[in-house]
Symmetry: C2
DNA sequence: CGACTATTTCAATAATTATTGAAATATTGA
DNA sequence: TCAATATTTCAATAATTATTGAAATAGTCG
């Protein structure tokens, strides 16, 4: 590996964390280097900088492309493929959430929806179905929330996040605004 | 494996998804069964129901305990350890987020903070450090937001999530409430 | 087309991770 | 304490996943 120390530390860390993030070391290192690079890099650059094999870089780039985490870029008078990550970290985060949802959540929701349609045969299955239903409804709420806020411009999203739990003050205020006069009473505290 | 069909489908799915979620099949299956079970289960129950080895169940339960995803429970007149998951799916979600943050985000933040302190030696390192800084600041914003809303009671949290992007209306309203008269002008669109 | 360069594929193998099951250890109750 | 039972550990091995590098394929330009 042939990199300035600051960049090398970052790249090595991403490689190590790869396994916790569900990607392998190679992919983690490639992504890290593309993220911090100040110009588009080609496969040769990555092979030289990271000391990986040709094939490994090709496969790694293919995987990163399937995640929409890197973009193909062509440079004038150079027919090799070059790659970049988006400049905007918020764009990257949105992609990451979307892709992880697609891989880690959607398949489970499909299964849960199917299992909800079945008729339980005994008390144990009925209880299990209730638990699955609770899981389904919770995930639905979370993903619907994300689908909603994801539509906001980044500037607005950052505002919203910066507000943190202070948003609750606004919520409490809203309660009064949107309250149905004589509406349902709450059972809790 | 000896389970009612509804529960078996759920358990098998969790086993398959395990690898995408960073846990193994055994752990996924054990967790799934505990989640839908209508009573605390012991290691024998899990061995019988899932057809796993004794040692495998022991290790799986240990891992789930290290994630705080299952709780040890003792039944009267039975000295075997039994296990349950929390009844409340929101408690489970909070645990999951906290533990994933601890394993998947905190180590990177530590590295990023260290790398921010270094002095770049050339333009490439300076650019890289800027990128790392952007990543650091974004993660900080997201985790600070979560640390904040995580303190809310579940009922309030669900309210907040149910509101989705409609919260922005409240935000726009708040802009006017908290605006500093003659305050700083924005540079963007 | 044909020479050249870039990229991908894939079989071989290295490395890692998961799983078993028997032995060791720990715990309980008499 | 001892016998019985419960739990954990861990060496062996199975299974999976990562990685290489050479060959095949695809693409480009004269």
């Amino acid at each position: 590996m042939n990199l300035p120390p600051l960049i090398q530390s970052f790249v090595l860390h991403f490689g190590e964390m790869g396994s916790r993030w569900g990607i392998n070391r190679t992919v983690g290192q490639i992504y890290a280097l593309l993220f911090v690079a100040d110009r588009p890099l080609n496969a040769d650059d990555l092979v030289d900088a990271l000391g990986l094999s040709r094939g490994g870089v090709s496969m790694g780039l293919k995987e990163l492309q399937s995640w929409n985490l890197v973009q193909l870029r062509h440079l004038p008078d150079d027919r090799r493929d070059h790659f970049v990550t988006p400049d905007d970290v918020w764009v990257i985060m949105r992609t990451l959430v979307e892709e992880r949802k697609k891989r880690e959540i959607d398949p489970t929701m499909t299964v849960l929806r199917e299992l909800m349609l079945q008729t339980p045969h005994d008390a144990a299955e009925a209880h299990a179905q209730g638990r699955m239903s609770a899981m389904h409804d919770q995930i639905e709420l979370l993903t619907a929330w994300y689908a909603d806020v994801q539509r906001l411009e980044t500037e607005r999203l950052v505002q919203l996040l910066s507000l943190g739990s202070r948003i609750v003050k606004a919520l409490e205020f809203k309660d009064r605004l949107f309250a149905v006069p004589g509406g349902k009473r709450e059972s809790g505290s």
